[in-house]
Symmetry: C2
Subunit: 307 residues, 2 copies
C-alpha cells in the first residue's frame, strides 16, 4: 500500500515564499508584480479557474485583474488588446484562459503574448526554450509535478518515466522536462498499442489524458510512483462507489453537486504504487502555486531585479 | 537479412522537385530564394559542410552565399550582422554553421535569426511550434528521416519508436515529430539504464548519439527498421575489419584518408533488421535536400507566393 503524495504542503510553501519575496520587492522598490487574466466569453469553469487565480495572486500581494471580453471578440481585436498589455509597464504576466470560443485559435492568440510575459509558458518561444533546456517561463502543471517529485525526494535520473497524454499543457512539456532531468521518457496517447504494458514499465507513471479513472491498478508497476493529473467530474454513483467504496466525502459530493472530482487513475492503484497523488488535493494545487512563481519570475526578469 | 534503405533516390527526387519549383518561380516572378550560410572561424569540417550546402543550393537555382567571419567575432557583432540579414529582402534563409567557437553560445546566436528565415529550424520559436504540431520551419535531419520512412511506406502510427540521443538537432525534434505522427516514442540517452533492452522494444530504432557502431545487433528487435544518423570517422583498422569484414571501399578509405565514415549502428545489425539506413548513403544525404526544401518553403511564405 503506497502513500498519498499530497500537494497542499508544498503548494503552501511555494506560495509563502512568493508572498515573502513580493513583499520584499514592494518594500525595496515600491513595485509589485502585475498579472492579467483574460477571459473570453462566459464559460463557467473558466470563470471559476480564473477567479481562483486572481484570488491566489491577491493573497500574495500580486496586483491581479481579470479582463473579460465578449464571446464574439474577433481574433484581431483580442490580439490588439494583448499587444497593449505587452506594452504596459506594470503588467508582468498575461494569461489567456483556455478553452477559447470556437472561432479563436489558441495557438494564434498565445503567439500574440510577449514571451517574457507568458506566465502560462505556452508560447512557442518558451516551449522551444524548454525543449532546448534553456531559460524561459515553463508551463505550470509540469513544473509543479517536477517540484512535487523533488520535494518528496523521488529521483528522476535514469528512471523510466511514462507520460500518458500529449497535450501542450501537460504531456509534451513534461516529457521534455523529464528528459532534461535525465529520465528515460516514453510518451503515450490514444494511438499507443497495449497501453497497459507500456505504462507498466514506468518507475514514474504520469496520467494526463482527461479520462476518469482510466488507468487501472494493473497498469501500475509494483512500487511505481503515480502522478495523477486528471481533473474529471464523475456523476455515475455506481462507478464512484466501485472506485472509492464507502466514502462519505464522495457521497456528499454526489448528493450536493451531482458529481465528484476524480483523476485519470483508478484510486485503488495506490495499493500497488509506492506513492500516488490524490485527486483532488494533489497536482492541481501546485498549478496555481507555480503560476504565482512564474509571475514573480517574469516580474524579476522584466524589471531586472536581483533578489 | 534486411534491406538497405538508401537515401540517394529520395534526396535526388526532393532536390529535383525543389529545382523545378525554383525555376517555376523564377520564370513567373523573376525572383529566386536566397540562402546565406554563416561560418565563424576556420573549422575544416564546417567549411566542407557549408561548401556542400552552397553547391547544392546553386545547383537548384537558389542564390547562395557563404559569409565568413573571423574566429574571434564577438556575439554582439555576429548578432548585428544577422539582424541586417533579417532585414535584407532577398535573403530567405540564414543558417549559422555549428559548432561555433567556444566564446559564442549557439542558443544565443540562433535566437537572433528571424524565425521565418531559420531554415535549420533550430530557433526556439520553430522548435516550440514543432512541439505544438503547428506550422513552422523544421530541423532538416529529423524531417529527412520522416520523409525517408514515408517514401519507403514504413507506417509510424501506433509503432514503438526509440530514439537514442537527445540533441536539439536530431533526437528531441525527431521525438516530437514522431509523437505528432502518432508513434509511441521513447527518448534515450547516456543516463538511460539498460539501453540495449529499451532499444530492443523498438519497431523503429533511431541512433543519433554520435558514437561509432555503438548500437550492437542485439539492441535491434527482429524485423525492426533501423535509422542510423551517426557520421563518425573511424581510424582503427582492426575495428573496421571487424565491423565490415573484407570491404574494398573501407580499406581504400583507410589507406587514402586514414579513416572511414561509420554510423552509430554496427552494420551487422542489418541481419536482424527488416531495413536499415547505410552510412554513408543514408540519412545524411537527406539533410541537405531538406535544407533546400526549407529554403524554398521560407521563400514562398515570406514572399507570399502561392504555388
Amino acid at each position: 500500500m503506497g502513500v498519498w503524495l499530497e500537494g497542499r504542503a508544498l503548494a503552501e510553501k511555494i506560495k509563502q515564499e512568493v508572498k515573502e519575496e513580493v513583499e520584499h520587492f514592494r518594500e525595496k522598490t515600491n513595485q509589485v508584480p502585475g498579472l492579467i487574466g483574460i477571459l473570453v466569453g462566459e464559460n463557467k469553469s473558466s470563470q471559476i479557474y480564473l477567479r481562483s487565480k486572481e484570488k491566489a495572486s491577491q493573497g500574495l500581494g500580486i496586483a491581479s485583474q481579470i479582463l473579460t471580453l465578449p464571446a464574439n471578440t474577433e481574433a484581431r481585436a483580442l490580439k490588439a488588446r494583448i499587444a497593449e498589455l505587452n506594452q504596459q509597464e506594470d503588467v508582468d504576466g498575461i494569461l489567456v484562459q483556455l478553452p477559447l470560443p470556437g472561432h479563436l485559435k489558441a495557438h494564434d492568440i498565445i503567439c500574440a503574448i510577449s514571451p517574457e510575459k507568458d506566465v502560462d509558458g505556452f508560447h512557442p518561444f518558451n516551449l522551444g526554450s524548454l525543449l532546448a533546456n534553456e531559460e524561459g517561463l515553463k508551463p505550470c502543471t509540469p513544473m509543479g509535478i517536477i517540484e512535487l517529485l523533488r520535494y518528496n525526494r523521488v529521483p528522476l535520473e535514469g528512471k523510466e518515466v511514462v507520460v500518458i497524454g500529449r497535450s501542450l499543457i501537460v504531456g509534451k512539456p513534461l516529457a521534455a522536462m523529464m528528459t532534461n532531468e535525465n529520465a528515460t521518457v516514453t510518451i503515450c496517447h490514444s494511438r499507443t498499442k497495449d497501453l497497459a504494458a507500456v505504462a507498466a514499465r514506468a518507475d514514474i507513471l504520469v496520467a494526463a489524458m482527461g479520462k476518469p479513472a482510466f488507468v487501472k491498478p494493473e497498469f501500475v508497476k509494483e512500487s511505481a510512483v503515480v502522478i495523477d493529473v486528471g481533473i474529471n467530474q464523475l456523476a455515475d454513483a455506481a462507478r464512484v462507489r466501485d472506485l472509492f467504496g464507502e466514502d462519505e466525502k464522495r457521497e456528499k459530493d454526489l448528493a450536493e453537486k451531482g458529481y465528484t472530482v476524480v483523476g485519470d487513475v483508478d484510486p485503488r492503484a495506490v495499493e500497488r504504487a509506492a506513492a500516488m497523488t490524490p485527486v483532488p488535493g494533489g497536482v492541481g494545487l501546485l498549478t496555481v502555486a507555480m503560476l504565482m512563481k512564474n509571475t514573480l519570475e517574469a516580474f524579476k526578469r522584466r524589471r531586472r531585479f536581483e533578489p
